[in-house]
Symmetry: C2
Subunit: 226 residues, 2 copies
DNA sequence: ACCTAAATTTAGGCTTGCCTAAAAATGGGT
DNA sequence: ACCCATTTTTAGGCAAGCCTAAATTTAGGT
């Protein structure tokens, strides 16, 4: 009950559609890198399961059932706990953790999950700033917003960065962008031009193109900076 | 290159035949819990691989090639490092580690292997006393012998115990038998009767049936006991 | 109402990894 | 030389997960 293919599909639905929206066939096909026809077949299987993983209406995509949601969050919890564990205990670098976690998330038991969560002190966020689902299925919340929407002339703190592209992570790492680091936006150049900003205490000004900026979320600084 | 089925088969060949002997079809069928006909098919595949994993002569079983041996030792190294890691870092009990390691051994990367080996201080033996193959393919050696062959009236130290039966491990654990613990053999009852022995500083005498005794290896005590 | 893009169905195929049952080959022991 | 147990072959099957290409349906916008 619950093959790797099923797990990956449930995870993809959650990531594409979140809690309430429906994930489309085309979206899933792209995310999972399989053909749309294969996705349709998989969705049928997931909704025919007893009990069903998803609620599926033809031509209207799929929404997770409570069971599907629970499973998706479990896999995501595995993934993010493993990422943090690799980073903190096994000294993996920021950009190495994702690939390894992708394999391990399907192989570990609930016991393993509990044990690493305990060793890490029941953490709420992974190395990239993503919230780690709790065992009860709730998600730690941290109000954040897109870097793209940041007001020029203001300060903010990096909240999270996308973990899908290791080369992007390497680049961010090399210029000091990590969750918790303070940034100052100088200006946004017109016509979707780059964002000019300073990172941490570094005086250098970095230009962030839209793709890079789009993979970063920020939150308001808690106290006035020194 | 190297599915889980292949890995398990190579590991089984190594465990049944060691370095030089050949593993038989029937033996592998039992070890892997698959039919003899399926084993024959698998052996053909392994020897047809390029480069081949095994040297296979019909009706004469299989012997690992250098490549097959290297792969088998790699999997066993994974397994035993993971067992020790679970025990020492994640606080798994003695009898829990085997099942979890069986799944994880196929999922971890060389990087993961290196990192846990480093965290553990490049250990040579797992929690059951089995040698952990080194990266270069050599095996730590520890001269030991079967408990069955121990001289009555003498002392020895537990060297290793079989890890295949969790209930047996629980039992051994409950009476204090672990690698490194000193035992004293009082007598061997006739006609394959039980071995009567004392464990550690415990004054109680335990009766070990042949199956239990057969799963334990011992080594001579290094210095005269106090 | 109609068009189109998305989704689905149909029909066929592939690989991996296992199964069965029955028949044939083989080799080691006496 | 012969028998028997082991091994192998043959022939067929199954399930999971994917693929393709072409045909069809559907929903949604105009």
């Amino acid at each position: 009950m619950g093959s790797e293919a099923i797990d990956n599909c449930l995870k993809a639905i959650f990531q594409l559609a979140g809690d309430n929206d429906r994930a489309t066939t085309a979206g899933l096909a792209e995310q999972l890198a399989i053909s749309p026809a294969s996705v349709t077949g998989m969705l049928k299987k997931l909704s025919d399961a007893d009990p069903p993983w998803i609620e599926y209406q033809k031509h209207h995509g799929a929404r997770l059932t409570d069971r599907g949601r629970a499973r998706a969050l479990e896999i995501i919890r595995h993934h993010r706990l493993i990422e943090l564990f690799l980073h903190r205990v096994l000294d993996y670098s920021w950009d190495e953790v994702h690939v390894e976690a992708e394999k391990l998330e399907h192989a570990i038991s609930e016991t393993f999950e509990d044990r690493i969560a305990h060793v890490l002190g029941d953490p709420e966020f992974d190395p990239h700033g993503h919230p780690i689902p709790r065992r009860d299925g709730t998600l730690p919340d941290r109000a954040d917003s897109d870097l793209i929407d940041m007001e020029p002339g203001t300060d903010a703190e990096v909240s999270r960065v996308s973990d899908h592209d290791p080369t992007m992570l390497q680049h961010l790492s090399s210029i000091g962008v990590r969750p918790g680091v303070r940034i100052h936006l100088l200006e946004r150049r017109p016509f979707d031009g780059p964002l000019m900003l300073r990172v941490g205490d570094d005086q250098a000004v970095h230009a962030f193109g839209t793709r890079l900026a789009g993979s970063i979320r920020i939150r308001d600084i808690r106290s006035a900076a020194a």
